[in-house]
């Protein structure tokens, strides 16, 4: 026995650490990563590699050379941003576009706010939206999945894009969506960015995170419920103009957004009720953008908009204090 340590209680700590929680998120994303590589082939692997590597390198360089602080890449949050960014862009995106996306995500949306925990908006989403606005051609030319061992890729718009465009030209939803069957959507047989096509793999990751108590399911479930309900109402009113609930749940990165980006600790409310309101907001805004906006895909914008009101939600929805009114 050398000298006894004397420090205040508590003297023990749970096994959770920032690193272990983030690592769990990475693990939860693995099924979707595997799925996307299988469906899109080596090009998707390249996208993932470039995205993760540039996010991590950038964070390392910024902490080391600009902030002159100990590196924070060990917490794995940059890896998550990298994977999410990659899953949010088409596999045909050129590598330099992805690097720009990661500069915006890590450099602008995360580190300028002070790093992990300080940012207001989800970094990967900021990166994605920036690319969507700046490089619309790369970001909206989707290709039919060709697969790891597949034949030549067939270029074409995503289901949501098809519908949006079709509607503008006066077609009805029934005509447009009759081409898709929901089994294909669920099992990733249609065009879209990687993260949009592996519904089951993403859901498996979500279940894993809930079981490990990394996240609570309420935000995600309330997004799903709101999207389903809103589209049910509109579709019930006019099925020729509005797409149906199942279509809306399964397309356009809704599952990726609801499971992995809306649940980001830093940019989502802390309390259960705050989370529910947050989820309802995202679901509703997503549907409004999809039905009435000019972008076919509303999830990213909806999440970013709701990110901005998180401080308010945290203020309004608090745990009732013990023994107080």
């Amino acid at each position: 026995m050398s000298k006894l340590i004397v420090s205040p209680s508590p003297h023990i700590h749970s096994k959770d650490s920032t690193r272990s929680l983030m690592l769990d998120v990475v693990i939860a994303l693995i099924p979707a990563v595997i799925c996307s590589v299988v469906f899109y082939g080596w090009q998707e692997l390249l996208v993932l590699g470039v995205s993760v590597a540039s996010c991590v390198l950038l964070e390392w360089a910024i902490t080391k050379y600009m902030l002159k602080k100990p590196s924070t890449i060990g917490d794995f949050s940059a890896v998550i941003t990298g994977i999410l960014l990659a899953l949010n862009v088409p596999y045909t995106t050129p590598w330099w576009v992805i690097v720009i996306g990661s500069i915006v995500a890590i450099g602008v949306a995360k580190m300028t706010f002070g790093g992990l925990g300080q940012n207001i908006w989800n970094p990967a989403l900021v990166g994605r939206v920036f690319l969507l606005v700046s490089f619309p051609t790369y970001m909206t030319t989707w290709s039919q999945p060709q697969g790891l061992f597949g034949v030549d890729a067939i270029s074409g718009p995503t289901p949501l894009g098809t519908v949006q465009e079709g509607l503008m030209q006066g077609a009805t939803v029934q005509e447009l969506t009759s081409a898709y069957n929901y089994k294909d959507l669920l099992f990733a047989n249609l065009g879209g960015s990687a993260g949009e096509v592996c519904a089951l793999a993403l859901l498996a990751g979500f279940v894993y995170l809930c079981c490990r108590k990394v996240i609570k399911p309420w935000i995600t479930l309330s997004i799903f419920a709101t999207v389903a309900l809103t589209s049910l109402i509109f579709w019930g009113i006019d099925p020729a103009r509005f797409t149906d609930p199942a279509f809306n749940l399964l397309t356009g990165g809704l599952i990726l957004g609801a499971c992995f980006m809306a649940t980001d600790y830093v940019t989502s409310p802390m309390s259960v009720w705050g989370g529910v309101v947050f989820g309802v907001g995202i679901g509703f805004l997503t549907m409004m953008i999809r039905y009435f906006g000019s972008y076919p895909e509303g999830v990213s914008f909806a999440i970013l908009i709701m990110n901005s009101v998180v401080p308010l939600l945290n203020m309004w929805f608090k745990q009732k204090k013990f023994g107080r009114k």
Binding site: M1, S2, L4, I5, V6, S7, P8, S9, P10, H11, I12, H13, S14, D16, S17, T18, S20, L21, T72, D75, G114, G115, L116, G117, Q118, Y265, V266, M270, S271, K318, Q319, K320, K321, F322, G323, R324
Partner: protein, 457 residues
């Protein structure tokens, strides 16, 4: 019936009850004991012996220094060697009475036999006086003199006595062993308490990880034929043994900020305190010893010992084979709320319930990272507070905001800091914030009082 627990927050640390199978064992007498005169909440007791006096076990050696204070008895027989300051468990000097042990002779009138006395005196005033004279204090942590708790202020009425057998702190097993081995006495003690409070119902709350104790106490109640005492099985959850949490769990009532349990009709006593009540009332035996769990993964010999008050920690540890090489921290109490011990020369007090040895790996603090706003601290807080916010406010010293966010409601349970994945030393900072908020509230109360006095004149 489904198992109960409190309604907000809480954590599940591994319970690590390694010493649960170790029966209570009498620790041999130390050659010298050092009895503190300030081992309870309230005014220190005033010594009534002088250097050179001969004392017997159970003899009063210090008298209360106020209403919220208590008697202190010699835990050994022998000669008073000195009276003066000595470092206590926290390393702060406080007044101790040093007694050199000679033999083991008990004072007159104390029944030292083991026969169970179930006949309870009918005069409640006399019972409370016996409890006061027995130096009984709450042994669950806060060491509030028990007679104070049993004398509710006028206008308040007790509706239920709760015996706290949760022992929700990991590692500790002394309450558990007491329930198992001295269950009869504890149940009689509970019967005394409910009689004193006006024949109200009494609930003995035990967590589900102690099924043997639950079965045993149920059997004792049935055997002794007591009505109005029942056992309630609680879910395992820390800090269930916290007074406010336990009342919430048992009675579904929440004690308000700054209020006493009696304001919602509850009186809570710990298992060992209940045993001490039995001893004081039925046997005339004051608190001279208490049960201490000595444990830790790195500690070679687990034990639950009956230790005379004032025994130096070093003596206990040496009896069990000395401090293990790998121990980095010694804690008086449990790992969540116990105090790290600075020196092993310090002596036990009535409230010493455990001696825990942790290795560096078990207790090392990781360096703190950024708050990731995960909300785990807020989810864990049993008082419904926002530890991440209180942490920030404490560091900024914003007393007004601390008060508005109820920093003074913090019970220092440590759940927030235990849960924080960023390893932020939340409670270290919140303690300071709590102190500042309490200070502001007290200063205001004092100022208001002074103003009222001035207005009278």
């Amino acid at each position: 019936m489904s198992k109960r627990t409190f309604s907000i927050g809480g954590v599940h640390p591994h319970d690590n009850k390694m010493s649960r199978e170790c029966a209570l064992e009498q620790l041999p007498l130390a050659p010298t004991v050092y009895i503190s005169v300030a081992q309870h909440i309230g005014a220190p007791a005033v010594p009534v012996v002088a250097v050179g006096d001969k004392v017997k076990v159970g003899q009063v050696i210090a008298e209360p220094g106020g209403f919220v204070s208590t008697f202190i008895h010699s835990s050994v027989s022998g000669t008073v060697k000195s009276i003066g300051p000595r470092a206590d468990l926290a390393g702060k000097p406080s007044s101790h009475i040093e007694i050199a042990v000679e033999g083991d002779e008990w004072a007159e009138g104390i029944d030292t036999t083991d026969t169970l006395v179930t006949e309870i005196p009918s005069d409640n005033k006399a019972i409370i006086e016996k409890i006061r004279r027995g130096g009984v204090v709450g042994l669950g942590g806060a060491t509030v003199p028990t007679h104070v708790k049993l004398s509710p202020p006028p206008g308040s009425k007790c509706e239920r006595v709760i015996i706290n057998g949760c022992e929700c702190e990991p590692y500790l097993t002394s309450d558990y062993r007491t329930l198992l081995e001295k269950g009869d006495k504890v149940v009689v003690g509970a019967a005394i308490l409910r009689q004193v409070m006006g024949n109200v119902p009494c609930t003995i709350a035990i967590e589900e990880n102690k099924p043997e104790a639950i079965a045993h106490i149920r059997e004792v109640i049935a055997r002794l034929g007591y009505q109005g005492i029942d056992v309630m099985v609680m879910k395992m959850m820390y800090p269930q043994g916290g007074e406010k949490q336990l009342i919430d769990a048992v009675m579904h009532r929440q004690v308000g900020s700054g209020a006493l349990p009696i304001s919602v009709g509850a009186v809570v006593q710990n298992v060992c305190t209940t045993l001490a009540v039995y001893d004081a009332v039925q046997k005339n035996k004051p608190i001279v010893d208490n049960s201490v769990t000595v444990t830790g993964a790195c500690f070679p010999k687990q034990a639950n010992l009956m230790v005379r008050v004032g025994t130096p920690l070093k003596y206990i540890v040496d009896y069990l084979g000395g401090v293990p090489e790998s121990a980095a921290k010694v804690i008086s109490g449990g790992p969540m709320m116990g105090r790290a011990v600075a020196n092993l020369e310090a002596a036990t007090v009535k409230g010493t319930g455990g001696l825990l040895f942790l290795t560096e790996a078990e207790t090392r603090r990781q360096s703190a990272g950024n708050c990731i706003r995960c909300g785990k601290c807020a989810d864990a807080c049993p008082m419904g507070l926002e530890p991440f916010l209180l942490n920030k406010l404490s560091k900024a010293g914003d007393v007004e905001a601390l008060e508005a966010n109820a920093a003074h409601d913090c019970i220092e349970c440590g759940c927030c800091m235990y849960s924080c994945p960023a390893h932020i030393p939340l409670l270290d900072n919140i303690r300071m914030g709590k102190g500042a908020a309490l200070g502001a509230i007290r200063a205001r109360a004092a100022a208001a009082k002074a103003a009222a006095e001035a207005a009278k004149k």
